[in-house]
Amino acid sequence: MDLGFDIRKSYGEFRIDVSLSLNEDLLVLFGPSGAGKTLILKMISGIVRPDEGSVIIGTEKVFDSKTGVEKPIRERRIGYLFQDYALFPHMTVFENIAYGVNAKQGGADAKVKELISLTRLTGLEARYPRELSGGQKQRCALARTLASEPRVLLLDEPFSALDYQVREKLRADLLRIHDAYPITTILVTHDLEEAFMLGRRIAVINNGRIEQAGLREDVFYRPATRDVARFIGTRNIFTGTVAGLGDGQVIITNPDLGVIKAFMPEGRGPAIGSEVSFCIRPEEILVIRPDKVLDSRVQDNIIEGEIVSATGKGSTQSLFLKVGKGDTLLKVELPNFVVRKLTLAIGRVIRVSLKRENIWVINR
């Protein structure tokens, strides 16, 4: 079922103004805390009334400020997974899920059993929510929502209250369940890793507005604005002056990095002399081994810098290189074994290569 919305609402200074349309797919609404993500879900579902705009499910207008249409929550047939699940504390797992089944249809018991096995809750039917772990509660709430056969599924930070290990398993569960019940789904998260893993399509939201919406690869590797680049963890965002253009590439100068060459599709080139932003993801930067003869592919954009800090993050290390005379820092993310093998310690000066195809120039 297609979902389209175009809604606006003001809370004093804070203003939400978003419009999107999606079909039977999973869209991740990604953005920092306080960006208005939950509020958008509440406006789509009818819990909060937008000041103006419209919400359309399939061909049915469930909200339209122009014509005064406002379907009550119960008639919208929207599945909503609350951040803390909102399981009914006085009902067992079975009763919670069965409560979602429309009483008019037969075979309620069979359906509840099917959902219980789909969400790996077999054996826990008679438990009350207070007797469940976080992950079990989340799956029970999801099963209850699916039992009502929603046309659209809205998931509000479904994994935020769970341990790291449980999260990974449940993300895989969610994708499996989404394949079994291909419902148009919006998932809200502020977790970058989660957004990348779950969203084939991602909309980046900031300050009540959609900064960029599109395919995962577009958003992650071709951010439309500096803010998007920042939110998706690009980290290395610099400004420079366009010095040359042509042959599918752009030449940018930056006081600390020097001359940088980047690929640039024909037609979207900025004017020579104009100022642009460009970025490269930390994991896309190559470290050049001291003894290695440079081959032609990595001859461009060789930068020398001193390692000034290093922070470990599980399987990878983030190194910060001080480059040039200013205080520009370049973040490089490397697997731990590479750091060990090349003995990359603080104080060492190393050379890195920013490959042309990995540099993205932000037009705005």
Binding site: S45, I47, P72, I73, R74, E75, R76, R77, I78, G79, Y80, F82, D84, A86, F88, P89, H90, Y99, G100, N102, R130, R144, T145, A147, S148
Partner: protein, 218 residues
Amino acid sequence: MDLYPLYLTIKVSFTATVFTVAFGFILAWVMAKREFFGKAVLDIVIMQPLVIPPTVLGYYLLGAFGRSSFLGRFLEDAFGLQIVFTWKGAVIASFISSLPLFVKPARAALEGVGSELEDAARLLGKTELQVIKDITLPLAWRGIVAGAVMAFARATGEFGATLMVAGNIPALTQTLPIAIYDAVQAGDAQTANVLVGVITLFSFIVLYIAGRFTKGRF
């Protein structure tokens, strides 16, 4: 010994409590779940009987239901209903004075059921009545029962307003608290002692029951 006051007190209190719970539940629900203009004022009006002297309350009720008032005349002309100096007057006095004791805990209990749970039920396609029946009431019933017990206890002890509205007519409007007053005035210590004993024991039982209900929660 005349047990009529005991019988009348139970009859009046029970009837008053039925009205208190029915009317009070709607009030408590509206106060807990809806925002509207004048809510703060309505709250103060509902709570008035807790703080104004019962005689003042009785005076208001006399003014409202007496024969010289519009409402009193209307009830008598249209339905043949006489309020003042009948046991019905005692019911109204008890109803009004016990209403805040019911509304306060009932409202708190209803507010305690988070709007998220109710929204979750609405999202599953349930109507407002189903939400109340399946979610709100099962989670708030302890507070509501506790409030009803408190209201019943307050109604059995109602004195001042009842005396003003229903009077002190033996075998007609003389409730237990008024009978105690009468017995003391007449120097009948034996009757007074028995009646006082009955009502003290009763109050203990009521508060114990109310305490039991408010304890456990989901």
